[in-house]
Subunit: 74 residues, 7 copies
Amino acid sequence: MDATRPLDALNAARNKKVIVETKSQKQFIGTLKAFDIHINIVLDDAEEREAGEVKRKLGTVFMRGDTIILISPA
Amino acid sequence: MDATRPLDALNAARNKKVIVETKSQKQFIGTLKAFDIHINIVLDDAEEREAGEVKRKLGTVFMRGDTIILISPA
Amino acid sequence: MDATRPLDALNAARNKKVIVETKSQKQFIGTLKAFDIHINIVLDDAEEREAGEVKRKLGTVFMRGDTIILISPA
Amino acid sequence: MDATRPLDALNAARNKKVIVETKSQKQFIGTLKAFDIHINIVLDDAEEREAGEVKRKLGTVFMRGDTIILISPA
Amino acid sequence: MDATRPLDALNAARNKKVIVETKSQKQFIGTLKAFDIHINIVLDDAEEREAGEVKRKLGTVFMRGDTIILISPA
Amino acid sequence: MDATRPLDALNAARNKKVIVETKSQKQFIGTLKAFDIHINIVLDDAEEREAGEVKRKLGTVFMRGDTIILISPA
Amino acid sequence: MDATRPLDALNAARNKKVIVETKSQKQFIGTLKAFDIHINIVLDDAEEREAGEVKRKLGTVFMRGDTIILISPA
């Protein structure tokens, strides 16, 4: 991710695998397909993980931005 | 769900079965009938589930967007 | 409730009996008399219920939208 | 309270006794003197109650809207 | 406090002693010197109280509106 | 701090030592260098304190406004 | 960091090492690459720390502003 503005970093991560962590203390991993200024995002091939283990497979998932703490390349 | 913007993904899921998870740690499954930019949604034939079991049937349900963590095809 | 936009579903429920659940884990049942874009609502003949039992009768009640998780026909 | 829009119901309750419940699980009873679109309100002759008993008398009180869950005629 | 709009009541309380209660369950008493539409306020000669006892003296204090539950003449 | 509007009080405190308390129940002391309408602030020579003792020295610190409960001259 | 407005302080910290603390009580250290008015930020070479120890390495990370309590030069 290269960034002069934060959303540039998300744009650089598009179609790449990212880790997403939420305020509800959950971790999701998937391919970042879309985002908007509210940081609503769409992941493809998403999995929820717990302590490094796959907890469940979700496929495509829309996540509401205000639940997200961080997004980082996997 | 195909998406260049996150709401495109919700649009692709319209009239399809989705899982909705809330900040109150609840899981709902139903047919996505409507959504708006606040991620307020309407589900048809909605059920609340707990640990994979149907907890109750709700029929049609309006859910306020700011309570939603994620929406994913069922 | 029929809906292309979420508020259409609330409109279809006007003057009908609805269940309202709040972030404070409470359940109210009453006739939906009014709502606005913030999902502020007014119920008539409202009751608070707990585990299916009437806990108290409230008559008319104004509920602030940001406290609401879901609204569903009773 | 008669309402086509939720704030109409508050208007109909002006100068009448109302119960106000807050997110902090408190209950106040007083005469509704004023409100605005944020649901900031002013009560006159307000009392805080707990389990039906008067806990303290507050006289006039300004309450910030985002703390309020519901307002109902007493 | 006389009020047709809620902020009128705050205006009537300006330069008078008020009790302020916060979402963090704290109580402050002081002279209301200023407020704005966000209910940010400034108190002079402010004290924090606990169970009716002075816990500490704060002098002048700026309080952010979104932390405030209620403001009432002392 | 002299104030007709709340932000005037912050302006009067600029370059002076202030106590800042946060929703996370922390207390910071430092010189108020900057603030904006969101009550985002910058402190210089900032320290975090616990029960009156210095817990750590932070130097310059940017604090996001929505985490702040109160700001008071030290 | 030199500041007449709070964001000036963040601008002065760009490309420098900063500590970021979140509402979820976590601490991240990394190089501040980007920020916006919502205090969304991007860190490079980011690490999460716990009690002064590196808990995990994250590389580049986008953090949503509303999760952030403070940002301070490391």
